[in-house]
């Protein structure tokens, strides 16, 4: 037993830094300068840790894995019983947490600029949103998975409530109500798996899964059903999508950036766990595919009906969640890479659109396509950013959305399901129409004459343009050189398909 314990120093930092920042920011409450320094330094620290951290594990119980031969090992890639509550930090986790921490920094900078009161409490919730996403993407045991999903959903309600509008309070209340339902469902699923396999560690449970025992099949199916329910809830897939769209639409647009990032990471993490645990069950992938297709189509159709740009984006985020899960649900290496890459791209281009939406706010007339017009004349760069975001979301080259959608289309064709490729194309085209309906009305339609006493708005902060420029750069970078991101995703896809017990 010559191996050293691989308890990575960096993994606890992804949890501890946001918690400490949240506590400190709450204490600081409304001391603007101290809040700014604490929040920015903490976000930067998370970015630095995500870049510098090596890949490896963190075991909470710390004992070595037991080999089938009776020996012990700390090497997780060897077949053994890990028994531990463990976190894993690999290439997928690195790119996901790096992107999430960069977005956290941008969101924090914009929140500091735009909020007038309760800044400390609000920004602390943003840090906890990041933390819940980091937990779920790194976790390899049922306890932490459940805790991550539960904490995440409660914090979402807090972030939405912070806007202080009646519509956001309703959205938060409904979302929290369903949190009780799906959280309990996930707990039941985990209890059933624990009962059937005897292990809380996901790798161990996969090895011990009694797939050939007919007497336990119904227990596994019920566990699968409850896990899918929590996946649907955490990611906002159909039929929970109206509640999730309410959440996205009624939060501040900059906060929606983090909320949708959290959702996408949860979709990826729970989706991969479902594939690893239940991928070989009959109809498991078909159920996941059906949910994905319904989410894509319903989301994009509902986006077409909206007359407020915020709500158009809210439904498009839901619809594009279906694209992410479609790739994962295919269960092939190409499909999973497509799904993961779509998640990365989706988070980036939707952030561009949400920041453009945030910019529209500063002109003082809301985001309705009926009341706002002529913004391009007053803020041409905001219009350019919105158009680039729309092109990327619609899968137009050379932007990042094109690269992931083409992989998804190829994966669907190779899977023998050309219908899925048609659905992906339909979603792309309808996304284009829905977005440009809003962009034309808000940015390009000639401005109506201002009414007497109308709110004139305030200048768009320079920081928002800086964040937009950085995100557009990433959009083009991943569009021109997709391998830069795909290199981080290959390992996860290969493991899920060929060695699912390895996290």
């Amino acid at each position: 037993m010559n191996e050293s314990i691989s308890n990575l120093w960096s993994i606890p930092l992804f949890i501890i830094i946001p918690i400490l920042a949240a506590i400190l920011l709450n204490v600081l409450y409304s001391r603007k300068r101290a809040i700014s320094v604490t929040a920015v330094v903490s976000s930067l620290a998370l970015i630095v840790v995500s870049v510098l951290s090596p890949f490896g594990f963190h075991w909470f119980t710390g004992q070595p894995a037991v080999l089938p031969t009776g020996g012990y090992t700390y090497r997780a890639d060897l077949l053994g019983w890990n028994l531990a509550l463990e976190y894993y930090y690999g290439p997928l986790q690195q790119i996901a947490i790096f992107l999430a921490s960069v977005l956290l920094l941008f969101v924090v900078l914009i929140a500091i600029n735009s909020l007038k009161k309760n800044t400390g409490t609000y920004i602390s919730l943003l840090f906890l949103t990041f933390m819940s996403a980091a937990i779920v993407i790194m976790v390899n045991d049922f306890y932490h998975l459940w805790i991550g999903v539960e904490i995440g959903s409660l914090i979402v309600a807090g972030v939405v409530l912070a806007t202080g509008e009646a519509v956001s309070q309703k959205a938060a209340l409904k979302y929290t109500f369903f949190s009780a339902l799906s959280g309990a469902g996930l707990a039941i699923a985990l209890a059933l798996i624990l009962g059937v396999t005897g292990y809380a560690n996901i790798s161990d449970a996969i090895i011990a899964m009694p797939l050939n025992d007919a007497s336990l099949a119904s227990v596994l199916y019920v566990a699968f059903g409850f896990t899918v329910l929590s996946w649907i809830y955490a990611g906002g897939l159909a039929p929970i999508h109206p509640l999730k769209a309410d959440v996205y639409g009624s939060a501040f647009p900059h906060a929606t950036i983090l909320l949708q990032t959290q959702s996408k990471l949860m979709l990826v993490a729970i989706g991969l766990v479902i594939l690893r645990l239940f991928g070989t069950l009959p109809f498991a992938k078909e159920v996941m595919l059906s949910v994905s297709v319904l989410t894509m189509m319903i989301g994009v159709v509902m986006a077409m009906l909206q007359t407020d740009f915020r709500w158009t984006l809210a439904y498009l985020i839901v619809s594009h969640s279906g694209l992410v899960t479609l790739g994962i649900s295919l269960g092939t290496v190409q499909g999973i890479i497509g799904g993961l890459f779509q998640a990365v791209n989706d988070v980036v281009y939707m952030s561009v659109l949400l920041l453009a939406c945030e910019g529209i706010y500063y002109f003082g007339r809301g985001t309705s396509i009926k009341t706002v017009s002529g913004i391009a004349k007053r803020a041409p760069w905001l219009a350019v950013a919105a158009i680039i975001g729309a092109f990327a979301a619609s899968g137009v080259p050379p932007f990042n959305g094109f690269q992931s959608e083409i992989i998804l289309i190829q994966a669907s064709l190779n899977y023998g399901m050309p219908e899925l490729a048609i659905v992906v194309l339909m979603v792309s085209v309808t996304t284009f129409i829905a977005l440009f309906k809003g962009i034309y009305n808000i940015f390009l339609r000639p401005d109506d004459a201002p009414q007497a006493g109308e709110k004139q708005g305030m200048p768009v902060p320079r920081m928002l343009y800086v964040c937009l420029a950085a995100l557009i750069f990433i959009t083009i970078l991943f569009g021109v050189y997709p391998q830069l991101a795909i290199n981080f995703l290959n390992e996860a896809a290969l493991k899920v398909v060929y060695i699912p017990w390895v996290p």
Partner: protein
């Protein structure tokens, strides 16, 4: 003349059914595109059944096309069913969960 008038009336009634209240051009465009999208989507869903049996897929596709002509426009119903009312979402969650369990358990 009578037949032209009645056709015009039918088309007018059909178009009015797409949206309630003041149908601005933007809203109307959205509803009409949404309707077309829904129709195409349901036809694709029906065609998925070719996986189980090609004749079943063809029959379902034909039935769906007939139903779409009979029941259209469906977009208002779709909008209603996708509202965020707690009862409605809870209802659909139960339906989904029942289908998932039924398909996996007895599939």
């Amino acid at each position: 003349m009578g037949s032209i008038d009645s056709l015009y009336d039918k088309v007018k009634r059909f178009v009015i059914e797409f949206t309630s209240g003041k149908g601005t051009s933007s809203a109307m465009t959205g509803y009409m595109t949404g309707e077309l999208q829904t129709v195409a989507f349901i036809m694709i869903l029906a065609s998925f059944f070719r996986i189980f049996s090609v004749p079943l897929g063809i029959v379902l596709l034909a039935a769906v096309v007939g139903a779409l002509f009979f029941f259209g426009p469906m977009i208002k119903a779709m909008e209603r069913e996708n509202s965020s009312g707690l009862n409605r979402v809870l209802f659909w969650v139960m339906i989904y969960f029942a289908v998932i369990i039924a398909v996996t358990l007895w599939g």
